[in-house]
Amino acid sequence: MGDYSTETISHIDREFIADLLHKGERLDGRAFNEYRDLEIEVNVVAAKAEGSAIVRLGDTSVVAGVKVLVGEPYPDSPDEGVTMVTAEMSPIASPLFDLGPPKENAIELARVVDRGVRESETVDVKSLCIEEGKKVYMVFADVYPLEYDGNLIDASSIAVNAALLTTKYPEMKWEDKKVVATGEILSLPINNIAVEHTVAKIDNHLILDTILKEEFAQDCRLTMAIDRDDNFTAMQKGGGSGPMSLELVDQAMEMALEVHKDIYTAIEEAVKSVE
């Protein structure tokens, strides 16, 4: 992630990657619009988390877990529950990650994945209200990278979606001014699903699902969240300050739309496997 391009890759490596792209090739032999092998395993924290998933995208892997808690609503939305995505760049995942409080890269990762979930209105927050102004469900989806070989955003987005879709939590009701369990088990009220796809720009080439070396060589990246109806619900240009022409942005959107269904289907299949 982030702007390592000048620091950690030699000019020779960068040129090599760029030259390959000019010839229409990538380091690992994939097509420009091809994801690495995707594996989704859900309910990996079955005993403690309400929802969870491990996603492996090539040699990148992340684990996401969902906790559903009861809490007080924000004063400006008394009848809405809360959803929140956080991410930590745990140093276990890469020699490049340092110990300590989250740096801007980790914050960007969390906020970009969070926006994908929030802006697409994936979870119907109105249905997460237990008693207006008093108690609502708070849904936390937390992401921990385990192995970092590029493209943490897409892996995290897939993991968070798979975890949310498999979340089961006990129903609560408001009785005698306190919250009591009804004994029913609920699934999250899911409205929509938006998966994020990240396209990197190297010279005038666009490639999907970068491995780490390609990420180092990128001028910038563009992340797009696309929902079930092929609408774009969130975007983020980051990973370097290289400019992008309108034409390239349009081309990136097309690439993302092309692969969207496949990723979406993979998530659905993983979710179905436990139903």
Binding site: V44, V45, A47, K48, A49, E50, S52, D59, V63, G65, V66, K67, V68, L69, V70, T86, E88, S90, P91, I92, A93, S94, P95, D98, L99, P101, F140, D142, Y144, L146, E147, Y148, D149, Y169, P170, A181
Partner: protein, 272 residues
């Protein structure tokens, strides 16, 4: 929000524990070596419902510099629980408990390592608890020790660890979550198997001297069993790989012998 109910009894009239185990029976344990590609060494452990991954980086340059030790490598252990690993969401920032456990784990692992081979460097051990169901510090040591071996850090021996405890007046090995929460005491311990020296010892709850002596003996026996599982896990990871990337002049038997020597356990094997 996962439902938490206090069980009526921790030892049934038949002498069995809440999950049906005998008092000296461990939970099912699955150890895997080499689970993370980015790390220099890694291992995972599933012990009952507890699930932990450990990754080792190094020996490598130490930042910040002021921590540098001139005569040996600095062993930095970071034990962290995922927010979703426990019934209530854990706050993401490191807690005092996590910091203390990181320290005692470092102290438990250190005696086995030849850190003096790498002056001024750091060996980083990152431990991520994915699901916590009792005995996480001991399970973490079991995995971390394997990860260190996988990273090729020279060591006198692997370090196995287990939590012994007391519930309904009986001594138990490998406490589960409920036994930990509602039992009468907890004695997590780790040993260096060749010498049976204890490298981690903590206790809470109330024990008599005799009980503690017995508990520690039970712990040592369980640690020896765990040690066998650890060696097996290492062999599984390395013997399988031997035909692909082992040296051509090494046949498989030689490879296995080398492994034992590397672990400094040749003597122990002769004893058996």
């Amino acid at each position: 929000m996962s439902p938490e109910v206090k069980p009526d009894f921790l030892i049934s009239p038949e002498g069995l524990r809440v999950d049906g185990r005998r008092v000296d029976e461990m939970r099912p344990i699955e150890l895997k070596v080499g689970v993370l590609k980015q790390a220099n060494g890694s291992a995972s452990i599933r012990q009952g419902k507890t699930y932990i991954i450990a990754g080792v980086y190094g020996p490598r340059e130490l930042h910040p510099r002021h921590l540098t030790l001139n005569d040996r490598a600095y062993l930095r252990v970071e034990y962290r629980m995922a927010t979703f690993s426990v019934p209530d969401r854990k706050r993401p920032a490191p807690s005092r408990r996590e910091k203390e456990i990181s320290m005692v784990i470092a102290n438990a692992l250190k005696p086995a390592l030849f850190l003096e081979e790498f002056p001024k460097a750091v060996v980083d051990v990152f431990i991520q608890v994915i699901q916590a169901d009792g005995g996480t510090r001991c399970a973490a040591i079991n995995a971390a020790s394997l990860a260190l071996a996988d990273a090729g850090i020279p060591m006198r021996s692997l370090i196995p660890a287990v939590a012994v405890g007391k519930a309904d007046g009986k001594l138990l090995v490998d406490l589960g979550d409920e036994e930990d929460k509602y039992g009468q005491g907890d004695v997590p311990m780790a040993i260096m198997p060749p010498t049976e020296e204890i490298t981690l010892l903590q206790q809470d709850g109330s024990f008599t001297r005799e009980e503690l002596q017995e508990a520690m003996q039970m712990g040592i026996n369980s640690c020896k069993y765990l040690h066998e599982l650890q060696k097996e896990a290492l062999r599984r990871a390395y013997v399988k790989k031997a035909p692909e990337d082992g040296n051509d002049d090494d046949d498989e038997d030689d490879f296995e012998d080398d492994l034992e020597t590397d672990l400094g356990e040749a003597e122990l094997m002769e004893d058996e």
